[in-house]
Symmetry: none
Subunit: 290 residues, 2 copies
DNA sequence: ATCGCTTTGTGATAAATTTTTCACAACTGT
DNA sequence: ACAGTTGTGAAAAATTTATCACAAAGCGAT
């Protein structure tokens, strides 16, 4: 298996450690839009990556080329060679791995799950769920089960920044009846329940429903029994080549929802989010935007 | 949905009849090595096609471009668009929603993240990581930070079923120096660290490294400083149209890894999974799945 | 906080390359 | 022979690249 061909993309990645911050920023920009961005002018590339012209010149030489034109020529050669080789490549995600590799099989399955899930989702229901969950006048309960509690926690963590007045409930814990004493009509429950569905979760949902709370349910394609009580039900495809189910699609929906709610509540969230961005600045990885 | 996207290749072919002999020869040469040959200098292209410089200039203008640079720019644009996976392009994910809806925009971004992440991953490194993490003779430590602890927990939960001899460490907790007393040479640390990177995590990694443990790092495209100590580094794209970063791609990799390790260890895992299911049945935590 | 050290951007400039265009001669096919 | 096409060589214009010195900013270590 003498795969001795090193692409320029590989070269850049291997040298990533020897590069300085601005150069790394540039390198990542080249990879982001590979190889098209490297085929324009030096000046355009610099602008596109948000670095100065000398930085580009310096990096190209660090990579071992005599000058930018030589670097470009190498890119073109690679592009020329790439088109010649059989097509089989474009079908795979991890190009360096055969298509039967688990990386490619698993990713295929997840992408297909995403496609199916999204194609069956009702955007109006989704928007409505966002409005409910973002409504600060309603107390928000987030409920996860044995496996799904990580998703619940992820949502909880972010919602905590966006709005006050929320509670994280684990159905596996025995403290949850406690929380329910305060549930009021109009409160919102976000419940995660995928197979195998949990009895505790169903019980909790029943109590919440009885008290007049609205339920937003994240479940799988077979739908947890909770869905009969749910005001909005978001069902996800979760089957992958594994002994377990995939939470990746649900994660995608959760993150999308976080982003949507954050936009809805922007006026009130703004300050909290800006604090967060200050924290990003401290990484010093990024140039300050002015 | 009358997509009238005409590639430059199409354009050239359609104008083929209006071109003169030398121009046609040139055009065919461009198509022969498309699009690489069009991305060099005008002179090079002329030489390559065996025509004169003015012929190139004349044809480019006949095709409707103001000059050669404009023609080149168009080619680059096309290349840029082409690289995007067919599945990621021109497809609306939530068909019932407009393409500007957050559901579609966010999913686009995540798919693109997956594509870029997978294309840059080294499958050998991945496989090696799986073998390390699945090796029951090494104690396994799983480490997450403020945001990433949910991912760490997700991995931990599954690994708990697959193999014994593992520990979940939260860097935000102050109990972690405790765990480190027992670390031995050859033990394995799986560390999650995305921006902003946490000092605690780095310190922990340094201690682990000093004690001779191997580190598998899940990080973002800018790579946590831990990567200098890491035996294997898996970097993910995480940028989405949101105030926060996306963990979906990392989740995908984690799940893929779980699936791969479970296959490696299937003989020993089998029993453990069955035992676990028995236990759940007995506690009647779950309803039977039909 | 302060001090060195490295990195980075700026603006300018010179060098190199590339593009564009020209007039004219040579060539082509009819 | 004629009309249209093509190549030549040149030169001007435009663009691009490479570099420089210096100042500003960032970083790490006290």
């Amino acid at each position: 298996m003498g795969e001795a061909t090193q692409t320029i993309s590989d070269l850049i990645q291997s040298k990533l450690d020897d590069l300085t911050r601005a150069e790394r920023q540039l390198a990542l920009s080249v990879l982001q839009n590979y190889p098209a961005s490297g085929l324009g002018t030096l000046t355009a590339l610099a602008q596109n990556a948000g670095v100065s012209v000398p930085t580009v010149a310096r990096m190209v030489q660090k990579l071992g080329y005599k000058g930018y034109p030589e670097f470009q020529a190498a890119l073109r050669e690679e592009l020329k060679a790439q088109v010649k080789t059989p097509i089989a490549k474009h079908e795979t995600w991890a190009e360096a791995a055969p298509s039967e590799h688990i990386l490619n099989r698993f990713t295929d399955a997840v992408i297909e799950n995403i496609r199916l899930t999204l194609s069956q989702i009702d955007p109006d229901a989704f928007d409505q769920a966002c409005r409910l969950i973002g409504d600060e006048s309603r107390h928000l309960y987030i409920v996860g089960g044995r496996i799904t509690h990580t998703l619940a926690e992820y949502l909880f963590m972010h919602m905590q920044v966006i709005r006050p007045n929320l509670t994280h409930v684990q159905t596996t814990s025995n403290t949850w009846p406690h929380y329910l004493l305060n549930v009021q009509e109009g409160d919102v429950f976000v419940i995660f329940d995928v197979r195998r569905y949990e009895n505790n979760t169903l019980k909790l949902a029943e109590i919440a429903d009885k008290r007049g709370a609205k339920i937003v349910l994240f479940t799988d394609q077979w739908r947890s029994p909770v869905h009969q009580l749910a005001h909005i039900c978001l069902s996800n495809r979760i089957v992958v080549p594994s002994a377990w189910d995939s939470a990746a699609t649900i994660m995608l929906l959760v993150e999308t929802m976080i982003s949507a709610i954050q936009s809805l509540n922007w006026e009130t969230t703004k300050e909290r989010v800006e604090n967060l961005e200050d924290m990003f600045d401290q990484t010093k990885l990024f140039r300050k935007f002015t």
